[in-house]
Amino acid sequence: MARSTGRPAVCIATSGPGATNLITAIADAKLDSIPLVAITCQVPLSLIGTDAFQEVDMYGLTLSITKHSILAKTTEDLPMIINDAFRIAQSGRPGPVVVDVPKDILSRIIEIEALPEPAEICNYSDHSKLPAKICSAIAERINSAKRPVLYAGGGIIASSAFDELKTLAEKNSIPVAVTLMGLGSFPCDSGLYLGMVGMHGNHSTNIIFDNADLIICIGSRFNDRTTGAAVQFGKKADIIHIDIDPSEINKIKKTFISLASDARSAMEKIIPMIEENSREEWLETCKEKRARYDKKHHSISAHPESVIRAVSAAADKDAIITTDVGQHQMWVARNYPFKTGRNFLTSGGLGTMGFGLPAAIGAAIANPEKQVICFSGDGSILMNVQELATLADLKLNVKIILLNNGQLGLVRQQQELFYNKNYIATTFITAPDFPEIAKAFNITGFGIDSTAPNSMTIEQCMKVHGPVLINVPVQEEYNVYPMVPPGESNIVMMKGEETEKSEPLKKAVS
């Protein structure tokens, strides 16, 4: 819910196992900077610390995976605590807050005058307070750059800085690459769009970063999946880093200029100082790299990349897409045409299998007018398959596209490529019948069979009203390419059979 709206969402769990079942979700929100208020119930105050029935120390357990954890000690404190939780979850860099409340504090009745109004959120949106010198230095460095690239991350979405990013890029003709969390922050149909950077990004994009003389990172945190071997990342470039969280600056890469600021306010301040420039030569070079390094789309219609494009053609234009974690997630990230922010909900930082279905349910509740499509894998869907019951109860407009390869595909791929094809614990020996599972939950289930003459098409299945699960068989040998081997420099990309090193830049761009 929070990912699709940008506003905080709330979950509640009972003490002990209920609360520990939230831990993965809290960590997920922390790594993706998502505003979440998790209320966990606790044993009565007097029993804390006695190994009471269903007692776990949620305050202690969650300290390292939250922005803030609070243990309520009196009922009188609760109004302020809830207010604080919302303020902290949304202020600055968003994140999860845990409020642990003992049962007796919940039950106690007190006399109270009125509940306080929601506290003001500190979102650093006033750009008049930004340091003028640094902002003009950033503008000057951009104006003088020969081969700049914009590197846009999840912070653009958190800041709703879509228009500003577009204006900045277009005014100075700067190509824009995004991270997995930044997908949708820049329209994929723009001529300046470079697609995703990093481990499963476009080969050309990684090469372009390697050739750049300036990388302008806005709202991103130089995660290892983005940078590859960080020392090699952008080694010919100066780095400008704009991030709302000062602790992200100089954490991974040393910056030339940095600014701790909200993305939108920073761009609002900088854009007027940016010169118009058409950068024909640099854009031409980028175009050449794209033509040269990026593979054409797959022609096999049963290939997941083709399936994803068929789904996108049949989907509503404003559909919200969620994914689970694995090969299918990367195929979606690389192939679904994302044009606007908050339409792509994925677990980026924690990479939590089981994320896709509950995220789709939340998105459908928060956006009842929209179609929600959940791409999942046969491994991931089983991690939260019980949520099919919630989906059936609420009769939400969620279409589950199950890319079923009979494998924990992404791990199988790594075993194939880097562990001598020593396949361990990645094959489903007994393959479940997923359309039947869906039907058992009272959800329409389809199996696509491209070899059967009368099989329904994905487009037809997606037209069916209400929740639908569509099982799409995928050949187990398909791997996600291109790929940077873990720990390698981004320019070393495996394209399929062969590992190809990029050639040095032939024509220097002036």
């Binding site: 819910m1 506003r7 905080p8 969402a9 709330v10 979950c11 509640i12 769990a13 009972t14 003490s15 002990g16 196992p17 209920g18 079942n21 939230l22 209320i39 119930c41 606790q42 044993v43 009565p44 029935f53 269903q54 309520a72 009922t75 609760l78 109004p79 809830i82 207010n83 919302f86 409340v101 003992p102 049962k103 007796d104 504090i105 919940l106 039950s107 106690r108 009745i109 007190i110 006399e111 109270i112 005058e113 509940l115 109004e117 929601p118 509950p358 939340g362 509740i365 928060a366």
Partner: protein, 40 residues
């Protein structure tokens, strides 16, 4: 007015615009049900 801790939480969530919560029910969470629970 008189309010239980559980009512304070629910009313505060409403004040923050929350209409839906996801959750796992159980013993310690029982007071969060809509009816005011007897004190322990």
């Amino acid at each position: 007015m008189k309010m239980s801790g559980a009512e304070i939480i629910i009313k505060s969530l409403e004040k923050h615009g929350i209409e839906t919560v996801a959750g796992i029910p159980g013993g310690a969470a029982l007071p969060l049900g809509t009816n005011r629970a007897p004190a322990l």
